[in-house]
Every structure is written in C-alpha cells, then in structure tokens.
C-alpha cells in the first residue's frame, strides 16, 4: 500500500482512467469484462433511443420523415440487431467474463484477447448498423446484418468461446456451478446455428423454418442462457442465501437445453409448414413450462423471506424484476404457442409485448442488477442511492407500461380479427396505445440517463481510481516476480 490517495479528480485523470480500462496493453484483472460490460451499457442506451424514435413514428409517422437512413423499416433492424448483439450479447458476456474466473478460481485465459474481441465486436457492430441504415441488409428478421459484418460476429464468437472455454478447462475449482453450464450452453452451439442462419438463403418455407430455428436459438440458448447464468450467480449472493436446490437447477438446465432449440417453429403455427414441424414446436414450447417452473421455484425459494434485502439493495430488486419478467415472458410465450391462442394473437401486438417483456424486463433489469452488484460487491464502490432508486422505479414503471399497453392492444386486436374486422379498421384503436408505449419507452430512457450519470460518478470517484491504481500495482508486482 505505497500509493497515496489523491482526493481531487482532474479531467486528465478521467482520460487516463478511460485509456487504462480500454487499452489492451496490460493483462489487468477484469479488464476484458469491463470493456464488454460498458459496451453493453452504451449499446443499451442506443437501442432504447432508437426504440423510442420508432415508437413515436408509430403514432406520428411524419416524425423524421424523408431521411432514408432513419426510415421505420431500417431503424427497426438496427434496433433489434443492436439489442441482440450490442446490448444483450455484450453486457452479458461482460457478466460471463466476471463470473467465469471467480467460479473456476482461474484467471481468464487471455485478458488481452478478451479486450481485443470486445473492440472488434464493437467496431463490427457499428459498421453493420451503419450498413443497414444505408440499405444493405439480408432482409430477414434478426439476420439483417450484411456480409462481412455477419460472418465477423461468428468468427469473434469462436474466439470468445475459445477464451472462456479454455478458462473453464484450465480451472482450479473442480465443481462446475450451474452458471458455468449455462455459459457453455450459450457458447458452444452458437457458431453452428449462427452460420446456418446467416450464410445463405434457402428455398421458400424451408428458409422460414431455418430463419426461425436460428432466431429462436439466438434468444433461447444464447441470450437467455447468458442471462440465466448471471442471475444464478448474483441472486444467491445478493440474497445472502444458498440456492434452494441444485437438483432443480439441474432439471431446469437440461429441460431448457432439450426443448428450447425446437421452439423456432412456433412462429409459423397454422402457417404453411408441414404438420410435424408445428406439432414438434408446439409440444416443445408448451414443454418449456418445465424449465420455467424449475427456475421459478428455485429463485422464488431463494428470494423467499428476503424482504429486508429488497428494501435495502436496489440491485437485488432489479434481480427480482428480471426474475419476475423471465417467468412472465416464458409462461406467456408457452401460452402463445397453444394453438387456439396463437390463431388469435400471433400477428397482433401481443407478440411485441411478449418480446419486450423478455428484453427490457429480463434483459435490461438483469444486466442492471449485475452492474449494481459489480459496483457494490465487486469493486466496493458507493453509488448514489437516490439516483439508483429513480432508475429502478422509472425502469419498472416503463416495463409495466410497455407490457400492459401492448398486451391489452394485442388482446383487442386479436379479438377484433377473430370477429372479422380488418387490420385497417383498427388504426384508430391503436393510436393511444402506441402513445402509451412511447411514453413507457421514454421513462426507461430517462431512467437510463440517470443510471449513466450515476455510473460515471461512481466509476470516477477517488476510491474507484485508487482501487484501479492498487490493481495495477498488484499486476506490476506479479509481473516482476
């Protein structure tokens, strides 16, 4: 402890700090994790901003009209791709880069490779997003990124998988905790379905089936697996209780791995697909009740009786919000695969509500839970409690507002179509629901702004820079040995 703490922070210190956490030069502990995590936060902000712009366009279509790059159909693809590959992939890979060394008691195989892959991923995604805005797209949902930006993601993922997988193989801890299983599930099959989905176009309905096989695996066994890995890691620590049952998490993991890859076909129930595709997907989607129920029981049991922590810890509250949203969106998704309900509501706004409950409920809240956990328990930093409270309540109200407005609208749309109404006749009905959706998105965006302010103040306070200097000292001593 030879360093003397400096109490005043100058702008030069902040620039210095930024360079230190971003340059790949030093094999510093948790460096790759920080680049991944904070890139995820950056893309999250971009994603929400674009989402709000689009939501406004849905009730006021003249908004930003006449700029091709900002046309609804192009921004939609940028919004989803940044959501999937920017915010959720990067944020939760940040969490994985944090969890894996701790759960295996082994340093990351290569921090430098981790940092380089993160920057490569960022630049590639930026290029891809600009390309979509300029009109280069493959034109299929969730496969829009044009060549070479799509294939670069696949290649970088292989490097990330190699980096994390090597860490797991070289581990000092023999036990493999359930979070590690989920990370392995996310990492290993990705190159197969990703390449299959993006590589080429198939013919007609076959192309659609493969499109959905790819997309649903992207949500199910890439994003959901990374998200659940994170929740399984932080919830017991935040609640300060062991997981209720490792047997139940075992059951939940294997049933999820067995059923989720079959779910893709549920986007074409009643559609022009062979009956057995429909039967398999409906069965698998309804069977998803099993892993959902396992997760529900496991987290619910762990969280039971932790009311005092809920009051005290904003991060824990975010975890529970993510947990509730995960259970809600999973049960809803299984329900929407029931054939009678699918016939009514599949093409309606209810599907949009379901997806957003998954993304902003489970995805955003889960990542926020992890970041508050990381700041408080990982870095031992004090963040502003009042800003965090505002962030939580704005986000929570935004999620509920979005889900309710779109869910109710979807219900009304489905029933109106069932009664023989046309799509066009529902336009007046939609107006105020779309306004409510944009307002909910706006609340989340404001909450996100407060969070960014809080994050910046926390990471550049004197203690934070000092702990970074101590880390560096430790690394230098280790290198000198």
């Amino acid at each position: 402890m030879t360093t003397t703490p400096n109490t005043s922070i100058t702008p030069a210190d902040r620039i210095d700090w930024f360079q230190k956490i971003t340059s790949p030069a030093l094999e510093q502990k948790d460096k790759a994790m920080q680049v991944w995590l904070f890139s995820g936060v950056f893309w999250l902000t971009v994603m929400i901003t674009i989402g709000v712009i689009e939501a406004v366009k849905l009730f006021y279509p003249e908004f930003l009209q006449g700029i091709p790059a900002l046309a609804y159909g192009r921004l939609r693809a940028v919004h989803t791709n940044i959501g999937i590959f920017g915010f959720m992939s990067m944020g939760y890979l940040g969490a994985a880069f944090y969890m894996i060394p701790r759960l295996t008691r082994t340093p990351i195989f290569s921090e430098t490779l981790g940092v380089l892959t993160a920057w490569g991923w960022n630049l590639n995604l930026l290029g891809g997003a600009i390309a979509i805005m300029l009109g280069f797209t493959k034109g299929k949902e969730y496969e829009e990124l044009p060549f070479p930006f799509d294939m670069t993601i696949g290649l970088i993922e292989i490097l990330i998988a190699g980096n994390l997988f090597s860490t797991v193989v070289l581990r000092r801890e023999r036990q493999v905790y359930v979070s590690v299983w989920y990370v392995l599930l996310a990492l290993i099959p990705f190159p197969i379905y990703y390449t299959l989905g993006n590589m080429r176009n198939f013919r007609g309905v076959e192309d659609a089936i493969i499109n959905w096989f790819y997309s649903h695996n992207l949500f199910g066994i890439w994003l959901t697996a990374l998200g659940l890995a994170t929740l399984y890691y932080i919830v017991p620590k935040q609640a300060n209780k062991p997981l209720v049952s490792h047997a139940i998490s075992f059951l939940g993991f294997w049933t999820l791995a067995a059923f989720y890859p079959w779910n893709g076909g549920h986007h074409m129930i009643w559609g022009p697909v062979p009956n057995w595709v429909m039967a398999a997907s409906v069965t698998a989607s309804i069977a998803m009740f099993v892993p959902t129920f396992a997760t529900m029981v496991n987290f619910g049991g762990t969280a039971f009786g932790t009311g005092d922590v809920i009051k005290r810890d904003v991060g824990y509250r975010f975890s529970l919000l993510a947990y509730a949203s995960y259970v809600g969106t999973s049960l809803w998704g299984s329900g929407l695969a029931i054939m009678g309900l699918n016939a009514k509501y599949h093409f309606s706004s209810m599907t949009i509500a379901h997806v957003h409950l998954g993304f902003i409920g489970f995805g955003v809240a889960g990542l926020m839970a992890f970041i508050y956990y990381y700041l408080e328990r990982g870095r031992k930093l004090q963040y502003s409690r009042s800003l965090a409270e505002w962030h939580f309540w704005l986000t929570a109200i935004g999620i509920v507002g979005y889900t309710v407005s779109m869910g109710v609208l979807g219900y009304l749309e489905g029933n109106a179509w069932f009664a023989g109404e046309s799509v066009q006749s529902l336009l007046p009905l939609r107006y105020w629901y779309n306004v409510a959706r944009a307002a909910s998105g706006m609340l989340i965006l404001v909450g996100q702004g407060l969070f960014l302010l809080n994050l910046w103040q926390t990471l550049t306070q004197p203690e934070a820079l000092r702990s970074l200097a101590l880390d560096e000292l430790e690394v230098e001593e280790r290198l000198a040995e």
Binding site: R76, V169, L184, A257, W262, M268, I352, V423, Q424
Partner: protein, 176 residues
C-alpha cells in the same frame, strides 16, 4: 487437467446430442419434405423487375409490418374465404422468405389480386401514389412515406406487389 476436462465433457456431449436432435428435426428434415420442395401448380417465377422490387421490399423492412401468410383460422377468415389459405409450395420462388410475424399493416400475400394488373394503369397509380404518401389515401395510416425511392424503384416495387398471388387468377393452360 485431463480429469477436469472429463467433468465438463458430459455436459458438452449432452448438449451436442440435444442440439443435434433439434437440428435434424427442424433443419435437415424439411429438405426431404415434398410439400416444401415442390412448387404449387400454376406458380410463376418472378420476373427480373419483380425480383428487384422484392429486394426493395426487404431492404425497406416492409416485412416487419406486413405478413405474407394466410392461415386457415377464424381470425384470417376474411382473407382465407376470398383467397384461400397459404400452402408451402406457394413460396417456392421466395428466397429469402418474407412470411412475416406481425400485422401492423394488412397481409399482402394476395395484393396482386386486390390491385390486379388487369385493372390497368389505375391500380399502378394507386399503388405508387400510396407508397409515396399513404396518408393522402387514408389519413389514419401509420405507414412510412416512401417518397425517397426513385421512380424505377417504385415501379419495380409495384411490379412485385402486383405479382403477389396473381398467379392464382391466371392458371396456365393445361397441357395434356
């Protein structure tokens, strides 16, 4: 290290088997399904302008709001009674697919029968005018105005619109 590897090995084998099952079910099996691998009787391939129009349709993200699949369910009844439900062979020439998952706007799989080429210039003028300024035709429409597309792009997009489902109205002459 070898021992450690064996502890993760069963997880990897198990995951590979489960993923492989779904892969063979949803990816490999459709290739051998005859209803997918043969075109519907009477289906016509796209002309070059229609194909180009189709690319513009995908580029501008029309597919996010307009489905192209009529299902044999009660909610689709107005469409299926007049046009019939979609069959796998109808999409034989669609690569990539544009089936869609949402109906923010109406289903377009039979747009070529609603605004048929048989109606001549008036149908074309309607479609092009509507692309450029949808709210001139329906003040409540939330469709983006595609006034930034060039005349030839709008023309190709219109060709594509008028091709959708049109083949059902013009059955090819039966060859004995």
């Amino acid at each position: 290290m070898k021992f450690k590897f064996f502890r993760t090995f069963p997880i990897i084998v198990g995951l590979s088997i489960l993923f492989g099952l779904a892969f063979s079910g949803l990816v490999v099996a459709p290739v051998f399904t005859s209803s997918i691998a043969t075109a519907s009787p009477g289906l016509v391939a796209y002309t070059p302008t229609e194909q180009h129009g189709r690319q513009i349709y995908l580029r501008e993200g029309c597919v996010y709001c307009h489905s192209q699949q009529v299902r044999s369910v009660k909610a689709d009844e107005p469409l299926s009674t007049s046009f019939g439900a979609a069959k796998a062979g109808d999409y034989y020439y669609d690569s990539p697919n544009a089936l869609g998952t949402s109906r923010q706007g109406p289903d377009l799989s039979n747009e070529g029968r609603v605004w048929s080429k048989d109606y001549g210039d008036s149908a074309r003028e309607y479609l092009i005018g509507h692309f450029k300024n949808p709210r001139a035709y329906n003040p409540q429409s939330i469709m983006p105005a595609y006034d930034y597309l060039s005349d030839s792009e709008l023309s190709d997009l219109t060709d594509y619109m008028q091709a959708l489902g049109a083949w059902k109205d013009h059955p090819p002459e039966e060859t004995p």
